[in-house]
């Protein structure tokens, strides 16, 4: 027996993992419904995705290849620390290549490259309750979900339209899952919303502080809330990526020099690097300066 050495495989004790695993199964059985679970203290602050870390710990096997992205990037402090945490506690392989990963933990993005069956996407969720800003009391939001009382949510979105002429909500844009539960997809840009539905991979959502787990099984219907006269639009900056020229990816606006010169680059660093490695060159990339620009971009995002 190797119980002693393996007891804390992936940090969490076995009893905690069983509790989280039971919650994950209920989440998959009731897509979009927030399953309560008893979140554990993790050796990192809440803002660092303790919910996602606990879900990852409950699903990882030694043979998995693990990737962590933070706003699309593999190399932020947060992403590196979570990756290192599981390398150390679970002895797993890690990668930055989306297609090579079996489990991907993410904060605020869905990878550009379509995911496939056999992959699992784990979201770090700060506020799992899409109705929270309308109703602070948990007892009330729970009742609203049970009665499918989602009228107020539509009113809020419609107020956006009357005030701004369009729906101003651009992150954490709510979706209705299989015509039943309204779900917060975590603060991904609404550009990513169309990828939530009918995805081949399993999507798991973990909120540590709020102690909720929810899920989207593969090929599940997830529709962004909208109105007949104002249909949902997955908008993004209207530019190609300055480094790789991609016109279909979500972009970050970054300042690249002291004069405040701006450029748009893919937020998904693996996607951008893959395209550049394949020979695609953006308007602002000259041979050799890609590395410098990437470094500048990190500084900008961290700031």
């Amino acid at each position: 027996m190797t119980q002693t050495s393996d007891y804390n495989f992936a940090y969490l004790d076995e009893q905690t993992k069983r509790m989280i695993r039971r919650a994950i199964l209920k989440g998959l059985a009731i897509p979009g419904y927030q399953v309560p679970f008893a979140s554990r203290e993790m050796p990192m602050p809440y803002g660092w995705g303790t919910g996602g870390v606990q879900v990852s710990a409950a699903v990882l096997r030694p043979e998995d290849t693990f990737k962590v992205i933070d706003q699309g990037a593999d190399d932020t402090t947060n992403a590196v620390s979570i990756r290192t945490f599981f390398e150390r506690t679970a002895g797993i392989e890690t990668t930055t290549t989306t297609g090579d990963a079996t489990v991907i933990q993410t904060r605020h993005r869905i990878p550009e490259e379509p995911l496939s069956e056999g992959q699992i996407l784990v979201y770090q969720v700060p506020i799992p309750e899409p109705l929270r800003f309308l109703e602070p009391r948990e007892s009330e939001t729970r009742k609203m979900h049970s009665l499918e009382e989602y009228g107020l949510m539509h009113v809020k979105l419609y107020e956006d339209i009357s005030r701004h002429g369009h729906i101003a909500t651009s992150y954490a844009y709510p979706v209705k899952v299989e015509g039943r539960y309204v779900m917060d997809p975590s603060p991904i840009p609404k550009f990513d919303n169309p990828k939530l539905g009918d995805m081949a991979a399993i999507q798991l959502f973990g909120a540590g502080r709020e102690q909720r787990i929810y899920a989207l099984p593969p090929y599940t219907n997830a529709v962004s809330l909208d109105f007949e006269d104002h249909p949902f639009e997955a908008s993004k900056a209207d530019h190609p990526c300055g480094l790789c020229g991609a016109e279909d990816s979500y972009l970050d606006e970054v300042i690249i020099d002291d004069d405040g010169t701006r450029m748009y680059v893919c937020s998904d660093t693996d996607y951008c690097e893959g395209r550049r490695a394949a020979g695609f060159v953006g308007a602002m990339a000259q041979a050799g300066d890609g590395e410098i620009l990437t470094t500048q971009r990190e500084l900008e995002i961290t700031a």
Binding site: M1, T2, Q3, D6, Y7, N8, F9, A10, E14, Q15, K17, R18, M19, R21, R22, A23, I24, L25, K26, L28, A29, I30, P31, Y33, V35, P36, A58, V59, L60, R61, P62, E117, R142, K143, H145, S146, L147, E178, R180, Y181, I202, A215, L216, P217, P218, Y219, T220, N221
Partner: protein
């Protein structure tokens, strides 16, 4: 205690439970698809697959209903020793395990409440065999449709009608596992 009680658990619990869970999770996420699940050698009439499911999901925080032939000394003792789960009646069970005919009317199991639909029983149904023929399944986790050898159709249709309340089902046979969550439409 006899030897069979002490053996037959996971020899490498953290690792084997992680692998077994992934099989169960993939099964629940892809209704009707059959996955191998190994690591447990439980006493008869429990199949290795059902044993692995119980070892992976049950502990002192959960209760189990042993239906029909499952309610025997060998299974009770093995379950108590390896999981610490309490054995209870169907009306309060987190999990129920047995042959389809022994599990009885589905109406005797809790289906959750409108505010907590997760507070429902998961049934582990032992099948003599299972394969991708029979009832047609559709819904979350299934791209178009899937076929699975369900032991019945009407009961699962009625259960789906309760959504988001309802029971979830894990099917076990030999070293194989499959599942049918409440969200699956059956015809």
């Amino acid at each position: 205690m006899d030897a069979q009680v002490l053996t037959g658990g996971f020899s490498d619990p953290a690792i084997q439970a992680a692998s077994a869970f992934r099989a169960v999770m993939e099964a629940m996420a892809r209704p009707g698809t059959i996955f191998p699940i190994t690591g447990a050698v439980p006493p008869a009439p429990l199949s290795p697959a059902a044993g692995a499911v119980l070892l992976t999901l049950c502990d002192a925080d959960t209760s189990v209903y042993l239906a029909g032939a499952m309610d025997c000394k060998a299974v009770r003792t093995w379950l108590a020793f390896h999981t610490g789960a309490s054995v209870v009646g169907p009306a309060v069970a987190d999990f129920a395990v047995g042959a389809w005919d022994d599990l009885g009317a589905l109406s005797q199991y809790p289906v959750g409440t409108s505010e907590y639909p997760d507070r429902s029983t998961t049934l582990v149904i032992e099948l003599a065999e299972m394969n991708a023929t029979g009832a047609t399944l559709a819904g979350p986790g299934i791209q178009t449709t899937a076929q699975f050898s369900l032991p019945d159709v009407k009961s699962f249709q009625a259960n789906n009608q309760l959504f988001p309340l309802g029971l979830d089902f894990i099917f076990t046979s030999g070293d194989d596992v499959a599942a049918l969550p409440r969200s699956t439409q059956v015809s």
